[in-house]
């Protein structure tokens, strides 16, 4: 968008196209009814203006057919809107299985982003064109909101939770990234840019800014440093549950319930080990809490490591998809 008077935001993702069609329909409805009411009022104002101070009106009783018509027609219209907008929302909420993942941590007042390959960025996000990208996001402090207008995606970034958005960019270029939830003094400065690059350029950027250590590798290093490795032993002889092959699978808890070992569950187990005890292990947990000892970025690295233990076979697949 250049300066001057822009009327339409950039349309740079697959989601944006669908949202804009809905937007045009909504705009058309708004214009139609606004025009209808304004014209009716102006017409009546002129046609039935009071011509003398003593003039009376011609009394008209209400009309049941009219009431039914102007209740029923809007009802049908909002039903159509509801179905359209909701089905679109459902589709926009579900990332394709082949999405590449990027991790976002918001804090007062910056965005910190990590690519699985280990590349880290602040207030900038580089993504390849045409590839579905899934963002897993959390906050270190207050509620933020990750908003890319050109993609028509927005989601609150909450402390203590993971939220998710995804998009597939359809246009190379530089697009605004905003924090859309008021978060304190420098809220308006919590902005950045999303760079959409051709896949080749993206590969080049990735290798050019590489850290030399992927998120999973950083997680493995932490796993050693923090001593996790002393109890979570691969052969099952340790004092903690085996983590190999756990990620994304159901885990049976001490109470008999099942829980999926997803990002949120692993995060909770690191910070509050006694919250959900795996069946067969003592309660409260003998594991110490790591609350306050690991940053949100490090938790994401640990999760990436656990994930890498459980899904070895998926790694090469993803590499191939990028090439």
């Amino acid at each position: 968008m250049g300066p001057g008077l822009p009327l339409h935001p950039d349309q740079a993702s697959t989601i944006a196209v669908g949202v804009d069609h809905l937007h045009y329909f909504l705009t058309a409805i708004t214009l139609f009814f606004t025009a209808l009411i304004f014209l009716a009022i102006f017409y009546f104002m002129v046609r039935y203006r009071r011509r003398s101070q003593d003039e009376q009106a011609t009394q008209v009783e209400g009309s049941l057919p009219l009431e039914i018509a102007w209740s029923g027609f809007p009802l049908v219209l909002v039903a159509v809107l509801f179905i359209w907008a909701s089905s679109l929302y459902f589709r926009n909420s579900r990332p394709p299985a082949a999405s590449m993942e990027i991790f976002v941590v918001g804090k007062q007042w910056m965005w910190k982003l990590q690519h699985p390959e280990g590349n880290q960025e602040i207030n900038e996000l580089h993504v390849p064109l045409g590839q579905p990208v899934k963002l897993t996001m959390t906050s270190e402090d207050v509620i933020h909101d990750f908003y890319i207008p050109a993609f028509r995606v927005k989601k609150d970034v909450l402390p203590g939770r993971y939220s998710m958005i995804w998009f597939q960019a359809t246009k190379t270029g530089k697009f605004h990234l905003f924090c859309a939830q008021y978060c304190g003094a420098e809220h308006a400065a919590m902005i950045g840019w999303v760079y959409v690059m051709t896949p080749a350029d993206y590969e080049q950027w990735l290798s050019g800014s590489a850290k030399g250590e992927s998120m999973a590798e950083a997680g493995a290093r932490l796993f050693n440093q923090l001593g996790c490795i002393t109890c979570h032993i691969a052969d099952g002889t340790g004092r903690g549950p085996v983590l190999q092959g756990v990620y994304g699978k159901p885990v049976k808890l001490a109470g008999g319930q099942m829980v999926i070992a997803d990002d949120a569950y692993i995060r909770e187990s690191i910070l509050q080990p006694s919250a959900k005890i795996v069946a067969g292990y003592p309660s409260p947990s003998i594991m110490p809490t790591f609350q306050g000892q690991v940053s949100e970025e490090q938790i994401l690295q640990l999760i990436a490591y656990v994930k890498s233990l459980g899904s070895e076979e998926r790694q090469p697949e993803r590499k191939a998809a990028e090439k």
Partner: protein
């Protein structure tokens, strides 16, 4: 039921509620609903001026992208205090506590509200709350946004959160007491013959509003107490770092604050029904539909709070339920708009100021309501929520709707309240300036929001400047529009021509008693034998 009114030459020739006693005590200890209405009128006007001053500074600041006037911290306080003043201390009490207080007993043929002393207590609670909120402002301010989202407000903000929240907490009880008073009064004190379906729609609207005030406001009080517990005692309720739930606050807050939108707009809708019928000298089109649509709005309003939270990560299925319920609110709102418009048909339409405000309301409320459809539409809401689109939408409802209704009502009943007329030409001019200024201020904000400019930004990317300048220019016109009535209304209190009991030749019991009314409202309690708005037909 025509009243034989001898032309009055002086308001002093007859004892009325204004000249019965001039002592300061006779005002501060009054239990007369009409005097309490005036106490409220003066207080909320002060709060409106304070809240408006914050808006003026904000719009000036946003003329340039980097921000022209203040530091970001100050800007954040400005929008917070603008919201707190305008919502809790102006809009929520506006029509119910002034026009409602004055008119509910008069319209139903009663001598006062059911609990006159509780009515005075409610004004004192409002004043204590307002003083606390103002003291928070002048001792450094508060910067959480009027929405007080946690954990920012409970843990991270370093401003006067507790003082401001306590002010709102106390003012909330004033709102509850007013609602309670109205419900009991409307049930128990209607004049003989005034059945439910003969009630003016103003009363129906206030009845629906009172129900919301009674049921919703306590939830706000609870929420504020929980916020204070977390902020002062570090009890983990909302902050996940203390073991709380990061979204719980928003659920509780909007459970009150969405219905609160209807506390602001329903009374205004009631005013419009009176203005349109009197301005067209016509019966309301579809009385039952307009009356029950108020009740329907009040009921559904409690079930739609989640539409403020579609992008919080709330379950998509919860999103579906809140979306469908939010769409349903559109139906009773549409019914009202269509019925008001149809009421004009074959009317005898005046161009007096109250009617101009009423017609302005219908147009602006239509636009505000229709843009609400964007926000009920899940996929679209994701893009425009949290942007200036939201700001524009709720100002079309709250200012284009609620405030236009309030000003229209004030102009309509001013002759009744004061016994005097204001200069008609100035009033019509001000109504036109406000309508134009309002649209110039807020229409560009719809465009800004669709382009993606987030709200609550103290500075912004340069491509949004043109629309921001347009909005600020419009706001200066709007500001002038608000100042004009302030001047001529104060002038008219002393110098305005004598109005007489019924200058509009309107129906309704309040017009059958002298202006200003005697302290006891009616010399004899009237007996009602006809429906509301029983205007004569053209011969």
């Amino acid at each position: 039921m025509s009243t034989v009114a001898l032309p009055e030459t002086s308001l002093q020739s007859r004892v009325n509620y204004l000249n019965a006693d001039y002592g300061i005590k006779s005002w501060l200890l009054t239990t007369d609903h009409k005097r309490i209405a005036l106490l409220y009128l003066a207080s909320i006007t002060v709060m409106f001026v304070v809240g408006g001053a914050f808006a003026v500074v904000m719009r000036l600041h946003l003329i340039v992208p980097q921000g022209a006037l203040v530091q970001p911290e100050t800007y954040n306080k400005l929008f917070t205090m603008h919201g707190i003043m305008m919502i809790f201390f102006f809009l929520i009490p506006s029509i119910p506590a002034t026009l409602g207080n004055f008119l509910v007993p008069m319209m139903i043929g009663a001598r006062d509200l059911a609990f006159p002393r509780v009515n005075l207590l409610s004004w004192y609670l409002y004043i204590i709350g307002a003083i606390l909120a103002l003291s928070a402002i002048f001792s450094g301010g508060v910067d959480t946004g009027w929405t007080f989202y946690t954990p920012y407000s409970s843990t991270y903000a370093h401003t006067h959160v507790i003082a401001a929240a306590l002010g709102i907490f106390i003012a909330g009880f004033s709102s509850i007491l007013t609602g309670l008073n109205f419900v009991v009064t409307i049930h128990k004190m209607r004049a003989p013959g005034l059945t439910w379906f003969r009630l003016p729609l103003f009363i129906w609207a206030h009845y629906a509003t009172s129900i919301i005030q009674l049921l919703g406001t306590p939830v706000l009080a609870i929420t504020i107490v929980l916020l204070a517990l977390e902020r002062l005692l570090h009890v983990g309720i909302f902050n996940p770092a203390l073991g709380g739930d990061p979204l719980l606050f928003q659920h509780l807050f909007w459970f009150y604050s969405h219905p609160a939108v209807y506390i602001m707009i329903l009374p205004s809708m009631g005013v419009i029904s009176e203005l349109v019928t009197a301005g067209a000298r016509k019966r309301i089109f579809g009385y039952g539909f307009v009356a029950f649509s108020s009740v329907a709005i009040a009921v559904i309003s409690f079930l739609v709070w989640g539409h403020h939270m579609f992008v919080t990560g709330m379950s998509v299925y919860a999103g579906l339920v809140f979306s469908v319920l939010s769409f349903l609110v559109a139906i009773p709102s549409a019914i009202k708009v269509f019925n008001w418009t149809a009421t004009l048909y074959k009317g005898s339409i005046s161009y007096d100021a109250p009617m101009l405000y009423a017609l302005g309301f219908i147009g602006l409320f239509t636009m505000g309501g229709l843009t609400g459809l964007f926000l009920s539409s899940l996929a679209e809401d994701v893009h425009v929520t949290g942007t200036y689109f939201i700001v524009a939408h709720f100002h079309y409802i709250m200012v284009g709707g609620a405030l236009m209704g309030y000003l229209g009502g004030l102009h309509f009943w001013w002759p009744k309240i004061t016994g005097r007329l204001y200069p008609d030409k100035w009033a019509r001019l001000a109504a036109a300036i406000i309508f134009i200024g309002f649209n110039l201020t807020f229409f560009p904000q719809f465009m800004l929001g669709y382009l993606g400019m987030p709200r609550r930004y103290a500075f912004y990317p340069p491509e949004f400047q043109v629309l921001n300048v347009m909005s600020s220019a419009g706001a200066s016109i709007l500001g002038v529009g608000y100042l004009i009535p302030l001047v001529y209304m104060i002038w008219s209190m002393r110098y305005g021509p004598i109005a007489g009991p019924n200058p509009w030749r309107a129906k309704g019991l309040e017009w059958q008693t002298p202006s200003p009314p005697p302290t006891e409202n009616f010399e004899e309690i009237p007996v009602v034998t006809e429906e509301a708005y029983d205007y004569p037909s053209r011969a």
